[in-house]
Symmetry: C2
Subunit: 223 residues, 2 copies
Amino acid sequence: MDESNEKSSTPGRDAGVPKAVVNRLSLYLRELEHLLRGGQQTTSSHQLGRVLGFTDAQVRKDLAYFGHFGHPGIGYRCDELVAAIRRILGTDQPWTVAIVGVGNLGRALLGYRGFSERGFRIVAAFDTDASKVGSQIEGVEVFHVDRLAEVARAHRLRLGVIAVPAAAAQHAADQLVAHGIEGILNFAPVTLSLPDHVRRVGVDLAIELEQLTFAVANRLGGE
Amino acid sequence: MDESNEKSSTPGRDAGVPKAVVNRLSLYLRELEHLLRGGQQTTSSHQLGRVLGFTDAQVRKDLAYFGHFGHPGIGYRCDELVAAIRRILGTDQPWTVAIVGVGNLGRALLGYRGFSERGFRIVAAFDTDASKVGSQIEGVEVFHVDRLAEVARAHRLRLGVIAVPAAAAQHAADQLVAHGIEGILNFAPVTLSLPDHVRRVGVDLAIELEQLTFAVANRLGGE
DNA sequence: TAGATTGTTAATCGATTAACAATC
DNA sequence: TAGATTGTTAATCGATTAACAATC
């Protein structure tokens, strides 16, 4: 929503793929991994759609944007489709990530297991607070923001996560951009101004609650 | 997308309002508050659209779903529009929230200032870990999940936030639902199965990074 | 073969944009 | 009055769904 939750595609070089489709791809992937853990070998557009609340036609259409992954009469082999979606999303290869801001939220993100499970490696954290700089949190070293250039180069950093207070977010973003970061996941409740070549996803925790509130108050479909 | 970030409306009793519109409403609100802090009295659909990356027509159309908030020739008075959007979203009145799960993420959420700034009051936290139960975190008491019924009644709880591990999320959701919670903000990376009358919003942190990854790898519009 | 399920086309539905009269 | 800007209609654009031949 927001930064966070934009709906339609505003492509650059594009591939003709609506953002909503890519979003559902992540959900398919999550569900497929869940099915695999439960020992299920194959699934169908019907099953995936039922669990996630989509029509079977939509599931098939979404996947067909990217290729032929199914087997008529059979369905989709979970492991095949997992591999295919990972390749599409780009998470078949590891991505290095840095987190800027080691407050409550930054620390929680540093300890979040889900990132590594999904192929992301948090290789560095940054802060300006001298009492934090030099420490290790969840096995990740905390650097002063001044050392961004050096660390970004050393790790070939491509993604940055902003977990600083709102007032510091634009400055943090500028520094990330200056050092070649290509994408920013922004948890600060501000609209960042970024050059066109830098991708962004925004998550505003209060806005998520706000959206839930509206859904409850109006008995709307909540997600 | 996902639980998190669904695109189109799947209404219940509905009001004919697409979910994308409600989502943008939150962004307008955030921006208007930012403008007000900067001392700006009025704004226009053109200005709001430019900052947030929408067309002016879309801004006007979104707002027009709910009433006549602008002044032809003048624009929108920021304070008026803020009040109007808060009323629409339901955040002109306080909402009590409980957080289930006091791990890294739960603790970060308990300390997140943005919630109270937006009209949410976290009145209780729950966990099953005896070493946490009875303590206070960020001024919020941690109860054993067994006391959900009692606390929910005492505080007239309507919203719950799930910040437990994936394996425990469905059980946590079931308990919240059993005690009358009307909306769930789910941070666990699972698709919850919920009765129709309960609203939900899902935020999967790894999926957000995954979406960013795709945007970077494909040079797509990032948000 | 009968049953299941895909990939794809055409039809439907919904959301965004452009344009403009009305208003300040 | 001239300039700015809204609210709204009609036109465009895009996304979802239904249907079905092809396949296993």
